[in-house]
């Protein structure tokens, strides 16, 4: 594994191996002294072209707990508007002797393009609407801790699919691990061509949240629910009429929470729009794993940085 750009780059075995490493890293988080020497002398640059608190700090802490030197480069605004090409920008940063480049960019495909220009290991921390592989890994890892193997489990992903890199990475990751996936959204928030895509990739689509959560959809009873963030600005693009109508149609409301079994985990990548796509009752329910996702995220990102920058593990890491 030279880079982590897309879930598509990972075999099932590689995913499971990352989970094993992440479990070890998770144990480290419980220690009083959290630092491991694994990446001492390595330099990791977090290059974020988009605002992000949780993902950027998660990568920063992950790198620091592995003893890497972590530098945050805020590269707000597209380089196109500044007259410098993306290639020039990343080559400049990498010329400082960078081992790992964690990049978030508002344009789909940016991480892949960057990986073709630089020698450093590139981690995609979210590229436009395309992918967010560490998010998918941490989601699956979290669910696996609750459900055991995901083989045959049914996960419902609900929300704005069109604009969601979380959806695109998750649908690949979950199906690769053997889960059955149903994605739910209004037709305007389904990516174009999803009919053909779902047929070849083997997941289901639905416009009816209640049917799916009741277990009356193609895949039957739901074992986990993953809510996606919906941006209020989408209304201006005529994707849906109003926040209220969205909540009634597609939100995880108190009533819908009652359709789920008490141990069905509820995920959300954050930040949550409470009252829009997720009611407070659901966000704060005992079965909500939203905060656990954050600690899993650290473990997964430590595992990813470890595998990319420290080479293969030699007899355990913790």
């Amino acid at each position: 594994m030279k880079h982590l750009l897309s879930i598509d780059d990972l075999s099932t075995d590689q995913i499971l191996q990352l989970f094993e490493t992440a479990a070890d890293m998770h144990d480290v988080q419980g220690r009083e002294v959290k630092k491991l020497p694994a990446l001492r002398g390595r330099t990791v640059v977090n290059m974020f072209y988009e605002d992000s608190t949780r993902t950027r700090s998660s990568f920063e802490i992950a790198g620091k707990w592995l003893s890497a030197d972590v530098i945050n480069v805020s590269a707000k605004g597209s380089s196109a508007s500044k007259g410098e090409s993306l290639r020039d920008t990343v080559l400049t940063v990498c010329a400082m002797g960078v081992d790992g480049l964690v990049i978030r960019h508002p344009a789909s495909g940016a991480a892949l393009q960057v990986s073709e220009w630089v020698d450093a290991a590139v981690v995609n921390a979210g590229d436009g609407m395309h992918e967010h592989p560490t998010q998918a890994l941490l989601d699956a890892y979290t669910l696996q801790r609750h459900l055991g193997s995901l083989e045959g489990r049914h996960v419902a992903i609900i929300g704005d699919l069109t604009h969601s890199r979380v959806f695109r990475s998750n649908v690949q990751c979950l199906t690769r691990l053997g889960a059955r996936v149903t994605v739910v959204a209004p037709p305007t928030l389904m990516p174009s061509g999803i009919g053909a895509w779902s047929a070849t990739a083997g997941f289901e689509t639905s416009y009816d949240v209640d049917e799916v959560l009741r277990g009356a959809g193609v895949h039957g009873v739901v074992d986990a629910v993953m809510m996606l963030r919906v941006q209020r600005e989408r209304m201006s693009g005529a994707f849906f009429p109003s926040a209220r109508e969205y909540t009634v149609g597609y939100g995880l409301t108190r009533d819908r929470l009652a359709l789920l079994g008490p141990y069905v985990p509820i995920c959300h990548p954050g930040p949550m729009n409470r009252g829009l796509e997720i009611a407070a009752d659901a966000a704060d329910a005992a079965q909500s794993v939203v905060l656990e996702q954050v600690s899993s995220g650290l473990a997964i990102r430590m595992a990813v940085l470890y595998h990319l920058l420290a080479g293969e593990p030699e007899g355990g890491v913790a």
Binding site: L86, P106, G128, I194
Partner: protein, 422 residues
């Protein structure tokens, strides 16, 4: 300089000799002291005419100049190109049009015919000085806001009506901006859904083509559809022509051979507007070119400086170079097209659409000697660095194309000899 072109197969038919006198006109016998070009085994076509070229001068001389673009055109077998108006400043006045025309004459390799903007500054609001551009020495007859669609129906209607007075034509970049905005960069379909790229649906083109043919019918004017890219647009064109509406259309070489799946690796070389489409559209475009529903091939040669392509895909510039490869691509995409058909879609009809009286004429005594000599069976591997264009955004790099241009003669003068600038 007078010429004898010996043994060329005229439009792929019987070999014959062509004679050119020192005024650059075909004559019926060998002028004394003429240079002889051995054209045995080569096919002679009237010099190619490109309805749609971006020469970038004035404004972006780092990407292309009128001289380097003319060189690329000559190497591609062209003797006339229409230079699009989206330069900086925009070609929206008689003075700007005349300047482009003069620079073309100074380069002297092809006829450079400026296209005038339809609207001032390409803003889509007020008409540019269409009549003054037409009356200028440049004699502008083709008007286009290419790069932008004249999306306001009222403005389009007025432009179509106005240019009727002098036989002008509006060449429309058909893209409804509310259905395909400035960030739209990938054919909307399964691939754009998977890649998370903003979709550019075929319907955004088709609704404008449909509207414009109705406007042309209503006004009794002539409209030209630039770079048709979808099967749906072809259906509309076929219907409109069936009704006798005065509409013509062009297709680019790249839309005849390249498909949207090339975007999988997010390589901005393949970013073009309109976007590459699926195979079904490519097939429909080929059939439409062969049956005459689409009238012409036009390159949409769009050179870009390297740094304007080295951005993330959605931020990178639209367009690809194409002057030097157009003939080879057309022959590769449509191997069954006769040479007479190739001449029709790449020379005769484009010259007629642009009202270029001197171009696209039969290779016969009395006509200006614009001719290209092609090696029909050759195969060439494209090398983007072996190009006269200043830009390298070449989607054909490494591909093998047929029908190499061997010699080009512009107004009786060799501009290309043995595949190199003369």
């Amino acid at each position: 300089m007078s010429l004898v072109i010996k043994g060329a197969s005229l439009l792929g038919e019987e070999p014959a000799d062509l004679f050119v006198d020192d005024s650059g006109t075909f004559v019926d016998s060998a002028p004394s002291g003429a240079e002889t070009i051995d054209a045995d085994g080569l096919v002679a076509l009237p010099g190619l005419v490109d309805l749609h070229t971006h020469l970038r001068e004035p404004g972006r001389e780092d990407a292309e100049t009128i001289r380097t673009g003319s060189q690329a055109a000559a190497l591609g077998g062209y003797t006339a190109v229409l230079a699009m108006a989206n330069t900086s400043p925009v070609t929206d006045t008689a003075e700007a049009a005349t300047r482009v025309w003069e620079l073309g004459r100074e380069a002297g390799l092809v006829h450079v015919q400026p296209v005038g903007a339809v609207t001032r500054g390409l803003a889509g609001e007020e008409l540019a000085e269409l009549g003054l551009m037409h009356r200028s020495r440049a004699g502008v007859t083709v008007f286009s806001d290419d790069g932008k669609c004249v999306h306001d129906a009222r403005v389009m209607r007025r432009a179509l009506e106005y240019v009727k007075a002098f036989g002008g034509v509006v060449s429309q970049h058909s893209q409804d901006p509310s259905l395909a905005g400035p960030s739209a960069c990938c054919h909307e379909g399964e691939l754009s859904g998977r890649l998370g790229l903003p979709g550019w649906p075929g319907i955004a083109e088709e609704v404008i083509v449909a509207r414009d043919v109705m406007l042309a019918r209503h006004t009794g004017s002539r409209v030209h559809v630039a770079h048709v890219s979808t099967a749906g647009s072809v259906e509309v064109l076929r219907w409109a022509k069936g009704l006798g509406i005065d509409v013509t259309a062009e297709v680019t070489p790249h839309h005849l051979l390249l498909t949207t799946d090339l975007l999988t690796g997010y390589d901005p070389t393949y970013k073009v507007n309109p976007p590459l489409r699926p195979q079904e559209d490519v097939e429909a475009l080929r059939a439409a070119l062969a049956d005459g529903t689409i009238d012409a091939v036009a390159t949409d040669h769009a050179p870009h400086a390297r740094h304007d392509k080295e951005h993330a895909f959605v931020d990178a510039a639209f367009g690809m170079v194409g002057l030097e490869t157009a003939l080879g691509v057309v022959r590769t995409a449509l191997p069954d097209l006769t040479w007479a058909d190739v001449a029709r879609v790449m020379s005769v009809t484009p010259a007629r659409i642009a009202r270029l009286e001197e171009q696209g004429r039969p290779l016969a005594p009395g006509n200006p000697a614009h001719v290209v000599l092609v090696d029909p069976d050759s195969s060439v591997t494209v090398d983007r660095d072996a190009s006269a264009s200043l830009s390298r955004n070449n989607p054909w790099h490494g591909r093998s194309l047929t029908s190499r241009v061997v010699h080009t003669v512009y107004a009786g003068r060799l501009t290309v000899r043995d595949g190199a600038l003369a």
